[in-house]
């Protein structure tokens, strides 16, 4: 799909960042490793011809969610927990479960990659950056307004994603905006200090 160097380089960054998130004792260090991992994933999105989503990844994750995390880390007092163990008592059993997950699903991926057609060449990348739209063209012929349907190709990944979101997935898009509103109101209500006196 792309030059192997970029895949391996950014995959190494993503895995390094993810391991850092889990392994670091201080949450603020975890957050910075998470930021590294987000940037690596955004770079991988570019190698997969998803330029719009790479930009959204950087803006929403690295910009929005990361700021939210850092503010929360700042608000809750971390120093108090510094001396205690930072993993659960059942960490050994949990690691065993995670290892089994890795073995089973990883084995399935390896086994299926040999038998299925996933090693086939990928589809034409131009399909991800063009979309066909049909619209009514209005023109005035001999003083009369004539409407004729035309189809045309729109180029660009962002344009293709936009047509998909605002035409094919209009209802889910609106539901997502309501979801974000609900999440915002919920976060404000939960974070209000005066809620302590209610119950």
């Amino acid at each position: 799909m792309t030059a192997p160097f970029f895949f391996w380089f950014f995959a190494a960054i993503v895995v390094f960042g993810a391991v850092g998130v889990v392994a670091m004792r201080q949450p603020v260090h975890s957050a910075l490793f998470l930021l590294l991992s987000f940037f690596g994933v955004a770079a991988l999105f570019i190698t997969l011809n998803a330029e719009f989503l790479a930009a959204v990844q950087v803006l929403v994750y690295a910009g929005g969610i990361m700021v939210l995390f850092l503010f929360t880390i700042m608000l809750v007092n971390i120093r108090r927990t510094a001396g205690q163990p930072y993993v659960h008592r059942q960490a050994g059993a949990a690691l065993l479960v995670a290892f089994f997950l890795l073995a089973v699903v990883g084995g399935t991926i390896v086994a299926s990659s040999r038998t299925s057609g996933l090693a086939d060449a990928p589809a034409d990348p131009a399909k991800l950056s063009t979309t066909t739209i049909s619209r009514m063209m209005t023109e005035t012929v001999d003083g009369k307004t004539v409407k004729t349907p035309v189809t045309e190709q729109v180029a660009g990944n962002s344009q293709a994603v936009a047509w998909g979101l605002y035409r094919d997935y209009l209802l889910p898009f609106e539901v997502a905006s309501v979801f974000l509103l609900v999440a915002m109101i919920g976060a404000v209500v939960l974070g209000k200090r005066t809620m302590e006196h209610v119950d």
Binding site: L48, L53, H88, G164, A183
Partner: protein, 100 residues
């Protein structure tokens, strides 16, 4: 040559690291970060198959997953803050009222 299998394997590795973080960490903030890793792994998978099949729907789905992740992070962090007010700590094993 890098194929879709490489991306799926990387995505699964990211998922497994996220699950490990959710399972072993005591700090709620780090657990929430691990959940973000899991959602990122799902996005990587969706976009890898979108690229392989030449179908834009995977990318559109990933947009909704990112929306979900943003809402989940906002609510989760608000819950962490209210738990800190209630308990004075953000450790998972301090929230043991339902343990019996």
């Amino acid at each position: 040559m890098i194929g879709v299998t490489h991306y799926v394997a990387l995505s699964f590795l990211l998922f497994a690291i996220g699950v490990t973080g959710v399972l072993i960490r005591r700090n709620l903030l780090t657990v929430l970060m691990s959940i973000e890793l899991i959602l990122n792994a799902a996005n990587l998978n969706l976009i890898a198959f979108s690229r392989q099949l030449g179908d834009l729907n995977g990318q559109l789905f990933a947009v909704f997953v990112i929306t979900l992740a943003a809402g989940e992070a906002a609510i989760g962090l608000a819950i962490i803050i209210s738990m800190y007010r209630l308990k004075g700590s953000v450790n998972l094993d301090d929230a043991s009222e339902l343990k019996g």
